[in-house]
């Protein structure tokens, strides 16, 4: 049936979709991402709806600092590029390159995460905005925090994959897994585009 691919000539051109299993993973994951859009949309809507509800606490304009957000954006965007490049290496059956690029992706991701933790720490301890301070605080931390949780999950995913398959090279089983993880990572990146625009830039330049 359809899971019989020609493997005699080497790694097939689209290893992530060479098997039925891979095709299924690929499609299933896209469906999941489709669902994630509306999940994030709900959090975005919540944030936008409650943005003004500062209840006397600090407001967005008072808190946010553009340079830090810019740095974070650059880290994440770049990591997205490296993970794209990793997928090109995968297609060419260049396992070493793929791992190196993925490691870079992960490092950039950790950089991003560190910034975010620093940012939250600052807001809580010096900005006076706790999770429970106001509706603005709650919705801000839950939206950005949800994204941060996705980043964290993505990082652990990459790391597990790399450890698990550190010796095997690219196979028809793990190619879909790497591919799907990289899709996930891009999706996180896409969400961040909206976060920096809607949460940070719009709050600062909003008036």
């Amino acid at each position: 049936m359809s899971d019989s691919v020609d493997v005699s000539k080497g790694l097939p051109p689209n290893p992530e979709k060479a098997t039925l299993e891979g095709k299924n993973k690929f499609l299933g994951f896209w469906v999941f991402l489709g669902g994630e859009t509306i999940m994030f949309a709900t959090f975005f809507g919540t944030f936008l709806g409650l943005r003004e509800g500062t209840a006397g606490g600090p407001s967005a304009e008072e808190l946010f600092s553009l340079p830090l957000v810019f740095l974070m954006t650059m880290l994440l965007l770049t990591s997205s590029l490296t993970s794209v490049l990793a997928m090109f290496s995968m297609k060419k059956n260049n396992f070493r390159n793929m791992i190196i690029l993925t490691v870079i992706t992960v490092l950039l991701g950790f950089g991003f995460l560190a910034c975010e933790i620093y940012e939250f720490y600052e807001y809580v301890h010096h900005g006076g905005l706790g999770f429970t301070t106001s509706a603005f605080g709650s919705s801000f931390y839950s939206l950005v925090g949800l994204h941060g949780a996705h980043v964290t999950f993505g990082l652990f995913w990459f790391i597990t994959l790399m450890i698990r398959y550190s010796r095997t090279g690219i196979t028809l089983t793990n190619a879909p897994k790497f591919y799907v993880a990289s899709l996930y990572w891009h999706f996180i990146d896409v969400v961040w585009v909206f976060i920096f625009t809607v949460v940070y830039l719009m709050s600062i330049g909003g008036a």
Binding site: L27, G34, T42, T46, L50, G53, A135, S138
Partner: protein, 624 residues
Amino acid sequence: MATETAANNNKSVLWDWLTTVDHKKLAVLYLIAGALFFIKAGAMAIFMRIQLMSAENTFLSGQTFNEFITMHGTIMLFLAVTPLIFAFMNFAVPLQIGARDVAFPFVNALGFWIFFFGGLLVSLSWFFGGAPDAGWTAYVPLSSGEYADLGLDFYVLGLQISGLGTLISAINFIVTIINMRAPGMTMMRMPLFCWTGLVTSILIVFAFTPLAAGLALLMLDRIFGGQFFMPDAGGNPVLWQHIFWIFGHPEVYILVLPAFGIISEVVPAFSRKRLFGYTAMVFATLIIAFLSFMVWVHHMFTVGIGPITNSVFAIATMAIGVPTGIKIFNWLFTMWGGKITFNTAMLCASSFVPTFVLGGVTGVMLAMVPVDYLYHDTYFVVAHFHYIVVGGIALGLLAGTYYWYPKMFGHKLNEKLGQLMFWLFYIGFHLTFFIQHILGLIGMPRRVFTYLEGQGMETMNLVSSIGAFMMGAGVVVLLINIVYSAFTSERITVRDPWDARTLEWSTTTPVPEYNFAQTPQVRSLDPWFYEKVHGEGLMKPAEPMDDIHMPNGSILPLTIGLGLFVWGFGMIMLEMANPIITPWIVIGTGVIITFGSMLLHSIHEDHGYHIPLDKIKKIEKEVG
């Protein structure tokens, strides 16, 4: 060739069921779980009806009554009907598209167990100070930490978990239907049940995610002191209502579409006629699905959002009547000119049509905003949706049960008892719910645990309660029938006891583990009927006989579900006054079980096993 043959041959039956990844066995598990939850929620309805039987009755207190309505609604929608439709989807969809299994058998089992443990968590609330009591809609502030107790935490976390299970099962169905169809089974040759299954799954993907988000917000609000909904700190209670109904309205179509699908299978089968206007039916389904995301504000007309919004959403809501009408008339014209056999399955399926129309037209009446100012939150609404969920979905599920029962269990259900059940249920249903329209109009709000004497509501409520008892009797007859038939019905050995039309009837009964020894070649809509009439009476194979690849069973789905259950329970313990163990230990345990199992699964690469050719030949010979 890695031919580790079925490893669980010598394991116990119980172990076999706990670790199964076979879609047919999971279907049975879903069926049992769903039926148990249905009986539980139905029994609650009976208690509610006893309380409302007479004015100022004191059978239940206001608090208990609120817990009953909440659990009744929640269980019925999330834990009874959802698994029941999943039972039939699990059983029929792979067979109808000619697949050996679903796309991700492991995920299929995972979905079941997560759903099951989520449901268990909701049900546990009774033992920890009371069930949730804010209605299945859980409107804040009534459901917030300030006004509701632990019960709501069980609601939030239990639904979160079971919703996760539902979500991943839905993804699985989507991929199955898109990727696993047999050769020749184009999208426009798929049976309508597969179409509605696909569309329902898509709706689940896009509706359960906002629910997950909403429940997360509510959980953050209740357990971690979030400020989303309380106006004092800048929050807004209407936010929850939007999120809930963005999910909630599609949810009702999630439930009804598979019922539509079942009707679209049963009616043609017993009218011996192909489905009238197949293409129109498919597109109507898609339009209904699309519109269902654009109408949610019709549950919030009285919130005071403003006249423009209300008007727009009213029109959108009414528009749904058009594609639904297309379906109704197509069913009618399927029967028209056919040769109709009236057995229990067909009785349920055909009576679905007029009953559903009664419920549908009251829906359109509700959509008239200013008049909804009268109907909203009265028994008129209760009557509207029971006409659909009982007169529509429950009848559809009963039809499905009687229809697929022989294929699932190898014997038919008793006809006499079946018809008795049908008439009890059907008459009881009309008695219970028709009169509730009028109750609503004369001023009976819903969710009231009692009503004062002398308001003219006593007789009608009594009638309604009597009807409910009849329905209960009907369900009891069904249960008796199941037991009775298991002992007395003759085994079915033919492939196709109903002389039906779709692929699931082309395999042997009982269905072998691998469904089809050879993947069938599909040449038409209603392929089995086509081969019976135009072909040689058996499906043409699309491939030579060969070893069949099967997935291995695994206990990990169950442990992941268990892990989530423990995790969720730990979260609830954070809210308990004096938990015996530190909640964080419980949470940690749950997290470790969950992620540990997931890790195990991803580390242990399992390629399944092959059933050798000679074994297949032997099995095929045995069943003839």
